[in-house]
Assembly symmetry: C3
Homo-oligomer: 139 residues x 3
């Protein structure tokens, strides 16, 4: 992972075979971030696991073949255990150019991922219990 900070924007390149979510969590921890907004992220992923939430649990699908990472969207928040966590949805294109997507559960960088992240200097994003669900709030 290569990181360069320009004020409140972080430019990140992830390296072939790095774990996508592990690296983003490491990045958040090392920079003591309490919030983050993904501006954009593209590249390729392999062994991606995506989920569709059916109101009880995630219906998951794992794609073992490399896929083009067409869009990466979401945010970073502090979870109830006080740790940074990412909420990310991805759009992926297969070899056929057809697209699949959903909630990102895991994946490995393939060739490269280039991702740009904005932080807000005085904000803290948290997830708190609300009507039985963990929901995002802005402090």
């Amino acid at each position: 992972m290569i990181i360069k900070q320009y004020k409140n924007i972080y430019c990140i390149r992830l390296i072939h075979k790095e774990d996508f979510l592990e690296q983003l969590i490491k990045f958040a921890k090392e920079n003591n971030l309490e919030n983050a907004i993904i501006l954009n992220g593209i590249g390729m992923l392999k062994n991606v696991q995506i989920g569709y939430f059916n109101n009880e649990k995630y219906i998951t699908k794992t794609i073992s073949e490399p896929v083009e990472l067409v869009s990466t969207n979401g945010n970073m928040f502090i979870n109830p255990k006080g740790m940074p966590e990412w909420h990310i949805h991805v759009a992926l294109a297969e070899k056929s150019h057809n697209m699949i997507g959903g909630h990102l559960l895991g994946g490995m960088v393939w060739n490269t991922v280039e991702i740009f992240i904005q932080t807000l200097s005085e904000a803290k994003f948290v997830r708190e219990m609300e009507d039985g669900n963990l929901r995002l709030n802005f402090k």
Copy 2:
């Protein structure tokens, strides 16, 4: 709808069963916005209506089942009647993880939508007639 402003960035969480576009218009009106750029937006939607423009009209499709909102992109402008209006394209993932998308015509928040919006302090986005079409201009 929960809104928190940090300078020129608005962090918004929409609530289960809220009307997506109605809330975004309400947000724009209440904050007297004359422009907005969507940084990212994810969550779930239900009863989404999307359109494909065939040069005459939108060919529409309504998806009654909840779908993952994989990406939300676009902008807010002032229409010829002087009212804020959004131009938004969405990418959606169904239970099969297959994706459909297009121009957003309507939809209801399902579980949650988290959306981040940037405004420009001295800009006004408008739509004006140009060769028989309403086109975006920047003032």
Copy 3:
């Protein structure tokens, strides 16, 4: 192409039948940009060519029919020849509302494209050789 700059954000509208990538390169050259981050971009494209990288070359697909441009993500960097170049992934919706996508190789604006781009005042994005591949670095 209509361009309006607000500090480090460029708001751009591309015109019917303009070449999408040619115009973005022209924009970068005319503004002497050494980096750019796409915030969002929507509209329609025609004759789009997209690619899936199979570790040797791009497997390409050309879509002659107009498609909704659902998302535009990526960045601009200075290539080894010292010229600006874009790395862009697009998500597209066909008349059926089904989505295809991948690495953007070419395409023509259809009706309109509205795109918002952020630049970093002190950054230079470059592609340099690394283990036999051109990789993005941040200066």
